[in-house]
Amino acid sequence: MTTHRAILLVEDNEDDVFLMKRALKAARVMNPLYVVEDGQEAVDYLGGAGKFANRESYPLPAVVFLDLKLPLISGHDVLAWIRRQYALESVVVIVLTSSNEASDLSRSYALGANSYLVKPPTPEQLEELAKAFKWYWLEYNQFAND
């Protein structure tokens, strides 16, 4: 099964964290969800720095939901960093942002994002998105390190 794969949500807005958690729950995504609140913490988590060195407590995620507008290190820079790490080359990075600016989009793909999602305006649409995510990324998608 696929439920053991960890998901990392990089999101500084606690409301969005709440809504995302709620939507994933509604979509019955059972995978463990870890949340970091800024770009630096995301880099630390993925790089196993400090308390994140304990992979028992903080397992390496298979999927990262990455917001672009983040404190300390921007989402684009986190993405660029991830794609420079050999150990993280098979991690799926899904940009989840409120921006639908063409420049943000093209830059994200250029830096190696696997997908680009605009945060839906309503909870129902977010729930639909969570369901679609589960259906596509967790059930149909084949991960590299299986």
Binding site: D15, F18, S98, S99, E101, K119, P121, T122
Partner: protein
């Protein structure tokens, strides 16, 4: 004494000398002839007189001699006292002995010892004469008379005095005559000379030599005066031309090919500050410290080849001030026998140059200002873009939260809430929803307004199909859309056109009377080389009063409560069409449906 008076004196002297010399020669010749004649005739008269006297004395002495009366003979001789010229007299007897003598005191040795032959003889500055004394044909003795030339000398002396007096008189007469004469001869010449001197000294060609005679000199004077008159005419003409040249405010300069200034008018004096006398003979380019815009050799070459050159130079005034001049050079090849010269006309364009310079620097300043403002504007635009980006992120996030929490509250605790509480939650939810729509539309509008686009041929029909097929509200049974295919291709931008189609269709399906299925007919036509696309609906229509207002931002005319919408949709259409060099308009009336049209460039243009 002026140098000019020298020949006058000498001419006068010479004329007078010639006249006097001629007079004196004539007088001397005349006097000489007269004196010679007088001397000869005197001698002749003397001989005759003495002969007559000797005859008389000889006749008177015959008796005393015959009678040997010495006393009477002395007495007769003594009568010779009346003749002062008779220096000595003697009577010789028939034998040749001295019989009587005169004067009585005279030594016999002073007399000839014996009588000579009868006759006369000039001897010892005098005349000696022997006259035979006869009685009855027989010679009885001889008379001797000796006369001095004293009378002759006295007479000659008298004549000499007379001649001298005449000479003096004649000389004076000649002098007077010569003066008068030389006035007649040299007068006209001197008048000519005087006129010539006056012209030379004063340069005044209006002077005329008086015509004093009607002879050759008169003709000469006339010719001289005529020549003067012509010269004066020429001079006047030249002076007139020079005066006209001086009237010119342009500097007019003539220089030779070596650069030496030959003419300098008043305009040049005023422009450059150098007076004519200072400038003439100077090297023009040195005097004015000319700065050439191109090498002088090049200019000279052009001047030789084309005969003229015009350009702009920087030169210096006498006071050192730099002036810009517009200059025209014309090569004057000159009349026969004259060296070619260059006629230069300069005028001061310093003010114009300064104005140009000012304009240039002003233009540069304005350019810089524009660049600066543009940069500031771009900065502002950048800030605005950042602002709208920030809106899309930051303002929509709390909205999502409001919607999310309201939704969560409703679904998690809905059962324990009463109807009123649920209604409040619903109002919160819908308000948030509407604000989100507003923000999205404002963002769309600003994106349409600011984006850089390339216009290209677009298959309008394909775009329309895409929009309809991806939007359930535009499909049956919610709406009926009839497309009169084929539609013309237009020149535009995919995203902008999609936005236009979406917004127009959204309005058409929204603004319909209750329980009416929206029906929209879409067709296109060529219009003045462009393409007009019609969207004709069966909606509630728009009062023509609002035909313009509806295309303005927040220009909605129907209550939001009834139809929803943000009032930005048509403003986005208008802005997008404008960015594609097109137009949008509507023909409508209340309850008559609306016919919106888009006028766009044809896809083949």
């Amino acid at each position: 004494m002026t140098p000019g008076s020298e020949p006058k004196k000498s001419l006068q002297k010479r004329v007078r000398a010639v006249i006097l010399l001629a007079s004196v020669i004539v007088l001397f010749v005349t006097a000489g002839a007269f004196v010679t004649y007088e001397a000869v005739s005197f001698q002749y008269r003397l001989v005759r007189n003495l002969s007559t006297l000797a005859r008389v004395i000889a006749d008177n002495s015959a008796a005393p001699l015959a009678f040997d009366n010495k006393a009477v003979a002395d007495e007769i001789l003594a009568a010779l006292r009346a003749e002062p010229d008779i220096e000595a007299a003697a009577i010789y007897d028939g034998r040749g002995n001295l019989f009587a003598k005169y004067p009585p005191a005279l030594q016999p040795a002073a007399l000839p010892a014996r009588p000579g032959r009868p006759g006369y003889e000039f001897k010892n500055n005098g005349l000696v004469l022997f006259e035979p004394i006869t009685q009855e044909v027989k010679q009885i003795g001889t008379l001797y008379l000796q006369s001095s030339f004293r009378g002759l000398y006295e007479q000659l002396w008298r004549y000499g005095l007379i001649v001298l007096a005449v000479l003096c008189g004649a000389f004076i007469a000649a002098l007077i005559l010569s003066t008068l004469l030389q006035k007649r001869i040299s007068g006209p010449i001197l008048a000519l000379t005087h006129a010539a001197e006056t012209i030379t000294q004063r340069g005044d060609y209006s002077v005329r030599a008086p015509k004093l005679t009607d002879d050759e000199l008169g003709t000469l004077t006339d010719a001289f005066n005529r020549m003067l008159s012509e010269t004066q005419d020429n001079q006047d003409r030249l002076a007139e031309q020079a005066r006209l040249l001086d009237l010119s405010t342009d500097a007019i300069i003539v220089r030779d090919l070596q650069g030496t200034i030959r003419f300098w008018n008043r305009g040049a004096e005023e422009l450059y500050g150098w007076s004519q006398s200072e400038a003439l003979g100077k090297q023009k380019h040195q005097l004015l410290q000319t700065e050439f815009s191109e090498p002088l050799e090049q200019i000279t070459d052009r001047l030789q080849r084309e005969g003229r050159w015009a350009g702009e130079l920087v030169q210096r005034r006498r006071d050192g001030g730099r002036i810009h001049v517009s200059t025209r050079w014309v090569l004057d090849s000159g009349m026969a026998g004259r060296l070619p010269r260059v006629l230069i006309t300069d005028n001061d364009i310093t003010l114009r140059k300064q104005a140009e310079e000012l304009m240039r620097s002003e233009a540069k300043r304005l350019d810089a200002l524009v660049a600066q403002r543009t940069a500031r504007l771009q900065e502002t635009v950048g800030e605005l873009e950042a602002f709208s980006y920030s809106i899309s992120h930051d303002m929509r996030a709390p909205l999502r939260a409001m919607q999310g929490y309201a939704n969560a509250l409703l679904s998690d605790y809905g059962a324990s809430l009463n109807a009123e509480a649920r209604h409040y939650l619903d109002r919160i939810f819908r308000s948030a929803n509407r604000l989100d729509l507003l923000i999205q539309d404002v963002l769309s509008y600003s994106r349409v307004a600011k984006g850089q686009i390339d216009l290209q041929p677009v298959d309008f029909e394909r775009l329309l199909n895409d929009v309809i097929s991806t939007t359930p509200e535009f499909q049956e049974p919610q709406a009926r859309i009839i497309v009169e295919r084929p539609l013309h291709r237009v020149r535009g931008h995919d995203a902008y056109l999609t936005q236009c189609i979406t917004n127009l269709l959204a309005n058409a399906v929204k603004f319909v009377p209750e329980r009416v299925v929206p029906e929209i007919r879409i067709r296109s036509e060529r219009f003045n080389g462009q393409v007009r696309v019609w969207f004709e609906d069966n909606g509630i229509g728009i009062d023509p009063l609002h035909n313009e207002r509806i295309f303005q931002i927040f220009g909605q005319v129907y209550p939001e409560k009834k139809y929803g919408g943000t009032g930005i949709g048509l403003a986005i259409v208008s802005k997008a069409v404008q960015r594609m060099n097109g137009e949008v308009g509507v023909i409508s009336g209340l309850d008559k449906g609306s016919r919106f049209w888009l006028l766009l460039n044809h896809g083949d243009t």
